[in-house]
Symmetry: C2
Subunit: 403 residues, 2 copies
């Protein structure tokens, strides 16, 4: 079986966009609640991949021993113990982020939204990737902002010269990028590109909201640095969480918000007061006792293996001319189908076969990626996944020429 | 000792206001993290009043038995089990709110903010009480809205004729009121006023965001109904939580959002995805096993007793001419000092004696209540509270004529 070619880099329109994406996103997300579906369209990896029992013991211990006063003291920026643990993990990755600039949030989603809110006003322009994670589109819509898309390479992420050109032409107030294992591309920006990105933005004083929720899910030899590691001016607001690699449903994330840390902490206080104390203390307890890195090693191995199986199945069963990313981490494949296949139609057909897929329409304000699919390989049931991919491939065949 | 007179009803200016309140609020809230202070200024009752041990056992049981798939399925509107329990409590109170219109949130604060966001656009006008809970002012500020204050009686709450006049004069897009034990007044709107409020707003199609976090803390014979009980059009967005009467720090609240329920659930999904599953399931487990009502009876008795002690101490130690509310629930006294006493100065002096108080400046956009204090009687250490009130009284004496 030959390795399939990767999709071409995106070439977005130069105009800014009004964003209205939500309806379709809600439809697709609501399928996450339906266990009957094979979840190739899911945004979450299988919960079977996580040490939920060990975590629940840490949580029980933490709440049993909790000083009652902590329940009213863990206001933003959040639990000191947890923030120290998070700060230690930055240090272990090779750079310094002090606990003082870390604000604990209700998952990365809240961190990202608060950061965007902290650095913009209604009507402002935000630079995003193309394709982009739909939550960025939703945040832009919710905060009454406008978006401009930047050309993004399926392997190396945001194209720096294209970004420079966008900044030349438009009054961009903030960028929202995923530097490591971008959703949906899986792209990984090379270190020198991250450095160039930070320099380019620092020259213009533009904040970067860096969504790094997949950073721990690398298949290479070492954890990729985020752009944050090169930030000297406090302009990078680095957002992550434990939801994608350890504790789904605990809703604990954070922003290392640089010089915006106080503003973000206050926005958190104003909009939802504090993060859940049992979740915060349970995670702090788990991290302090060790075992997270061992779990991550197993998780990475599982995902890497699952990627190979899913990619092989796509190569075998999808129509000729299909292109495919092979990310170095995360749990998504980005699949470019022949131009005449409409992914939304394919999504509906797959549903009627009890399979969910995420149509490319979700990942752009102008629904441009209409012949693309995001396929999750985050589920360890190989047979079920392979069989579902075979079915989706057959359905794609049936749609060729009907677009 | 004579019963002291209550403060006069408020008489707000008719103009609309730009809101910028946050700095002072953040200063006062940050004192909640300092255990050395006698917390007369605290927004939270003492955590010693809550069954945290029983709760922690419910939480441990719930996470131990948790189906892993629930961690990715409890998306908005939230845990079905918890929403059914909340719906049953509405039913027990004598009216029907279906689980379908309940959206679980990260505390009432998030519920209130999401509801306000769901029914307004930047620049819109919101009617609030005078004095009002500072979180309402912060939400108005954060969402780039404008506010208009409505005259509010210290015992009976929002004045309906005044509200009607405001609605006549201004294009009000939403109201945000606390109908039961308003913060800071402690006022309780009579049933007929609640009914008149709902009718007045229904005639004009104006949504009411009803903040009802203190509803369970009544000292009378039966739980007061919220305005929601009279709503026939789905225009009342009823927000509450378990934070003030059961589970501080768990960060579980909800909105029963009427016809806006889908919009609010989507805003929740867009801004912070989901509420913490351990907290949700732990509370559902606790509620299902019973014991909440027994705990609430004890809590109400404790607060009622503590109010008598605090009110007596204010009567004894505060300057002649001081006026005082005697709320029928909640845990705040609203104290009107002689006009020449500046509450902000008193707040600073009290801090230097290791006592926090909440100055009236916090409760209005124009800092009009400059000779008022909100005093919490939510802490059961009678001797410490009495001694602190005596000190604050002496400090108030020292400020008379220095304003």
């Amino acid at each position: 079986m030959p390795q399939q070619p990767e999709p071409a880099p995106s070439d977005p329109r130069p105009e800014t966009l009004e964003v209205e994406i939500s309806e379709l996103v809600f439809q697709v997300l609501s399928q996450a609640r339906n266990r009957e579906l094979v979840p190739l369209g899911s945004a979450f990896p299988s919960p079977e991949l996580f040490p939920l029992e060990v975590l629940s013991r840490s949580l029980s211990r933490a709440v049993r021993e909790l000083d009652p006063w902590r329940t009213v003291e863990d206001l933003p920026p959040g639990s000191d113990r947890l923030r120290r643990q998070i700060s230690l993990r930055y240090l272990a990755a090779g750079y310094n982020v002090s606990a003082e600039e870390i604000v604990v949030t209700n998952g990365a989603m809240e961190a990202l939204n608060l950061c965007l809110e902290a650095v913009t006003s209604p009507g402002d322009l935000v630079a995003i990737e193309a394709p982009t994670f739909y939550a960025a589109l939703q945040a832009v819509e919710r905060l009454n902002l406008r978006a401009v898309e930047v050309a993004t390479h399926p392997r190396t992420g945001v194209d720096i010269p294209s970004l420079a050109a966008v900044l030349e032409r438009h009054p961009v107030k903030a960028c929202w990028f995923m530097t490591n294992f971008q959703n949906p591309l899986g792209s990984l920006m090379p270190d020198e590109n991250k450095q160039a990105l930070v320099t380019l933005l620092a020259d213009r004083g533009i904040p970067l909201i860096e969504d790094d929720v997949y950073g721990e899910l690398y298949f290479g030899l070492r954890k990729p640095l985020p752009a944050k590691a090169y930030d000297r001016q406090g302009l990078v607001l680095h957002c992550s969480s434990f939801s994608k690699d350890l504790a789904p449903g605990y809703r604990v994330g954070w922003a290392a918000a640089g010089k915006f840390a106080t503003t973000v902490a206050r926005r958190k206080l104003m909009s939802s007061l504090a993060a859940a104390v049992p979740s915060q203390e349970g995670l702090a307890e788990y991290l302090q006792r060790g075992g997270y890195d061992r779990h991550l090693r197993q998780l990475r191995q599982a995902l890497s293996r699952q990627q190979a199986i899913a990619a092989r199945a796509v190569a075998k069963h999808f129509p000729a001319g299909t292109r495919l990313t092979r990310p170095e981490g995360g749990y998504f494949l980005w699949v470019e189908l022949p131009a005449t296949v409409d992914a939304l139609q394919l999504h509906r057909l797959a549903l009627s076969h009890s399979i969910s897929v995420a149509p490319g329409h979700l990942f752009s304000a102008d629904r441009r990626f209409s012949n693309f699919l995001r396929l999750s390989y985050g589920h360890p049931d190989d047979k079920r996944v392979e069989s579902a991919i075979r079915t989706v491939g057959a359905l794609a065949h049936s749609l060729i020429g009907k677009g």
